[in-house]
């Protein structure tokens, strides 16, 4: 399936979860948060949350600012 992952198109195996998408980005184990189609997905739900084809996934972290 195709995802829009942090603004870039990515191909992931069908049935992939939010946890798989986070892994595909090489995210560190802590300090990140995920929104799917603009809804925040709590970390505890990452493994069980199946992504659908065409989903928009945003993986955010803290950067210098403010």
């Amino acid at each position: 399936m195709r995802l829009l992952l942090n603004g870039a198109e990515r191909e992931l195996p069908d049935g992939s979860s939010v946890a798989d998408a986070v892994l595909a980005l090489g995210a560190p184990p802590s300090g990140v948060a995920v929104a799917v189609d603009d809804d925040v997905v709590p970390r505890a739900e990452w493994s069980g949350y199946r992504l659908h084809d065409g989903a928009t996934v945003e993986v955010l972290t803290a950067v210098q600012g403010g």
Partner: protein, 255 residues
Amino acid sequence: MADDALVIAGREFGSRLIMGTGGATNLAVLERALVASGTELTTVAMRRLDAAGGTGVLNLLRQLNIEPLPNTAGCRTAAEAVRTARLAREALGTSWVKVEVIADERTLLPDPVELLDACEQLVDDGFTVLPYTNDDPVLAGTLERLGCAAVMPLGSPSGTGLGIRNPHNLEMIVAAASVPVIVDAGIGTASDAALAMELGCSAVLLASAVNRAQDPERMAHAMRQAIEGGRHAALAGRIPQRHWARASSPPPDPS
């Protein structure tokens, strides 16, 4: 003097300087500035994870034992700010948030309508809400009544270094507020920070003034001392201003 802590939402801070991490040329420079500032609470922004970015700034704050304060910088609507705050709570494990909802890129001034909407939703959702607001006493009062833990009026627009353009508005905000008033944005140099404290503000939040100075570490030190000096002056009871001179030495001896 040691018992003069800043208290926000029941939490005590020994430093009245809240730093921002934006504008620093690299993490090593930022680290020296943060240490020199003595800050205990420092803002970060939320952005997409990229291969280069990592979480360096979070690790730095953790090492220095500085509490991260996520902001909603860049948000233009209440919905964006609420989503960013919820993502920050997930990523950082803190329910504290500096709420910024900006009206346009040219002024970076807060959009008061969207700001109020965002703050109301976030207070209801259990956040400790610190809103970046205009220097408007009416708006500040409304934010406090909504349940914000502090109000953070600007001295002048972000990054301008124009200092405090309407000191009387800040005095009116301070006089009416029962939550901490934190000047956020516009500080250019140490005297601006001292003035904020002399006006009765509880703390100062600044980033560019230090991080974009030629010597950020030294400017951080200057800000720390200015804020301490201004705080002492505010508590010390300054002399009234007079029109004519008043000698401080005894009158001259008769000839």
